[in-house]
């Protein structure tokens, strides 16, 4: 009955024969798409599919794999380190949100107000993005030297502050990572905001000036509402990015001291490659799959919630 109803309610689909499909450009479309499909298929979709399969197996990739059902998921969910990693990742994301999110916006707004040498400021802001991330981390490792003769401690010492242990203490390690990550990432976001700022019609500012608005009021009533769409996008990108923080804890601290910078991605890496022999690829892929699902749901929910706000 339902089938009849639906076939009645939808217009009959025009059947496309093979000849007309080819004449209509279907084949040439497919041929043009083929290289991309093959490349994505071989290097992206196949490994992703394989990883999902592996999350249900126990394998060291050398001997034959065994199906273990949901054992890997159970193992990961009962691992006490998972809670530590979740907490640390949440802490990193929170700190990055508090410090890392507004800074690029403030910089971009200030830079857009500059009349001269704006290019120079843009270049300076973008410079950290050009430095290869590994090089940047090694450089900051020197800065974070915890002895009184370390770079940061020397500078702070001039003002009678410190010395601080930076990476060598459970409570200061994570904020230190956020500081470097913010420095490294701010430039890219600043450029996006600057581009969005140029798209704001100058008439709006002129009108605000005529109405006697101060700079602060202009920012609040004109700039921020106009940037709303971009701000929402960078927020979700930042949330996704910070939930997957890996490079900084891996290179700076290896998850230490005492697991205080152990993040979810680092835990995944450790499952797979941390032990010389215990490559637990099943647990690694199980946690990867769970993370991907959570982030997917988070993103979908976020866009649904903010759709009306972003468009208005």
């Amino acid at each position: 009955m339902k089938g009849i109803m639906s076939s009645l309610s939808t217009p009959p689909r025009k059947r496309v024969g093979p000849t007309s499909w080819v004449r209509g450009g279907g084949l040439s479309n497919l041929i043009f798409l083929l290289p991309t499909l093959v490349v994505f298929g071989v290097f992206s979709w196949y490994p992703i599919g394989r990883a999902v399969v592996m999350s249900l197996q126990q394998t060291n990739l050398v001997t034959a794999a065994q199906w273990v059902g949901l054992d890997n998921f159970r193992h990961v969910l009962t691992d006490p380190l998972l809670l530590t990693a979740l907490r640390n990742t949440g802490y990193f994301a929170l700190l990055a949100l508090i410090f890392g999110y507004p800074i690029p916006l403030v910089l971009a707004v200030l830079m857009s107000e500059v009349r001269r040498a704006r290019g120079l400021y843009s270049a300076l802001a973008y410079l950290p993005v050009v430095v290869p991330p590994v090089v940047a981390v090694l450089l900051w490792k020197f800065f974070y030297d915890a002895s009184p003769t370390g770079v940061f401690n020397t500078v702070l010492g001039w003002f009678g502050i410190g010395p601080y242990p930076w990476l060598q203490n459970e409570s200061t390690a994570m904020p230190s990572l956020v500081l470097e990550a913010t420095w490294a990432a701010a430039g890219g976001t600043v450029i996006i905001y600057l581009a969005a700022l140029t798209a704001i019609p100058p008439e709006l500012y002129d009108a605000a000036s005529v109405d006697g608005a101060s700079i602060w009021k202009k920012v609040w009533h004109v700039t921020l509402p106009q940037l709303r769409g971009v701000l929402l996008l960078t927020l979700i990108l930042q949330l996704i990015g910070t939930s997957q923080v890996f490079l900084e804890p891996y290179l700076f601290t290896g998850g230490g001291p005492s697991n205080s910078t152990m993040t979810i991605l680092l835990l995944i890496y450790n499952y797979a490659f941390g032990q010389s022999l215990g490559g637990d690829f099943g647990a690694a892929t199980a946690l990867s799959v769970m993370l991907a699902v959570v982030l997917g749901v988070l993103s979908a929910g976020y866009f649904r919630l903010t759709r009306s706000w972003a468009a208005s």
């Binding site: 990883a51 060598q168 930042q238 890996f246 941390g274």
Partner: protein
Amino acid sequence: MRSTRKAAIVLLSTTLSIGMLAACSSNKPAKTASKDGKVKLTIVSLKPGSEKAAIDTFNEQVKQFEDANPNIDLVPKEYEWKATTFAAQLAGGTLPQVFTIPFTDGKTLIQRKQLADLTSQVKALPYSANFNPKVLDAAQDSSGNIYGIPYAAYGVGLQYNRTLFKQAGLDPDKPPTSWDEIRADAKLIAEKTGKAGYSEMTQNGTGGWMLTTLTYALGGRMEQSSGDKVTASLNNPQTKAALQKLHDMRWVDNSMGSNFLLDWGGINQAFAAGRIGMYMGGSDVYTSLVQQNKINPADYGLAALPLDSSSDAGILGGGTLAVVSAKASQAQKDAAVKWIDFYYMRKLTEQDAATLDAKTLADGKQPVGTPALPIFDKATLDKSNAWIASYINVPLAQMKSFTDGVFSQNLIAEPAKNTQELYGVLDPVVQAVLTNKNADIDKLLDKANSDVQTILDRS
């Protein structure tokens, strides 16, 4: 924004690399012969970042072997055993066919059928009956089949910087002989030079490795066996005492410097740069300190590790096995054992080979005569040292305390089961003690003990 892209790349590449490793690790038989009919064999060469002279010396030895064995084509690949990369290399099939592993991993790899059975080839070697049974055991399964050739053995010693000793007003020819002296000297070095008086490895499993060493030195053990059952005993009184020593040097004396996130490579680098007064390390580390860190030989000193008076106290010993991939063909296994015999073994057993090897190394300005423990017996070791005496270029006089003391010390093997995992669980414990003044040692060890017991039970 970049962090987003970066993180996305990392997640994707982690997923991809795990997936692609799976794709790469097919069980195709290895290609046996090159086009010219020669047996092609990939072998490990030196650690990445080695000095050019060391690489030239190695290549010279490859040439000598190929000249003597014209039907074998060797392809050297740089290699360094690292806990963090070994599993991936093994899984991805990117290890050379002949590679080296620590004693620690021998049994597990044999059990997982990841090493080639070399019994017949090894038995054919003229010295096969002379191996120290305790040493050869690391390469054997329960039926006595042999899967690797032990070629180097070490005992942990106390590495110390003679220059910092002098600067602190200490006599570099009289290194500390008790842990109380180590503590006092470390404090003095820190006060007089501003450098770390004593330092400890803490990362990538090395924290657990060295805590186990210190526990052994005080007479404790990390695992207890009873029949087939192995029980974790990480919360033993000696480990607690060991952590308390570290805690006091760090927080009472402030003599351990400011970097507490060091792995093997990191601590060697800092030591060679003159930033560390003393640390525990394998007796063979001098070679790496020269080849990778360009240490000034005048700075170097090696002492026997002070032991507690208890009869259970001893030094942690280990070593390296040369092994062959399970995928190697019969011809490759034959060639591999020939190469292992030529490069790793003959210098231990034959005068001509020993002197040729020593001369080649000495000509390349590479270390000759770094202290080692016997693979066969002490008499063989003494004999081979006598053959190369004229080429020895390492400052042996500065290692006298170790070479005089080590042979009377009780040598104890690493914990037998789930060793690397046990070390991994202990890393955060050591880090906590060194970075948190109020760390609760008892609580940390109890938790680590139950974590290790879970791992032992699971396997």
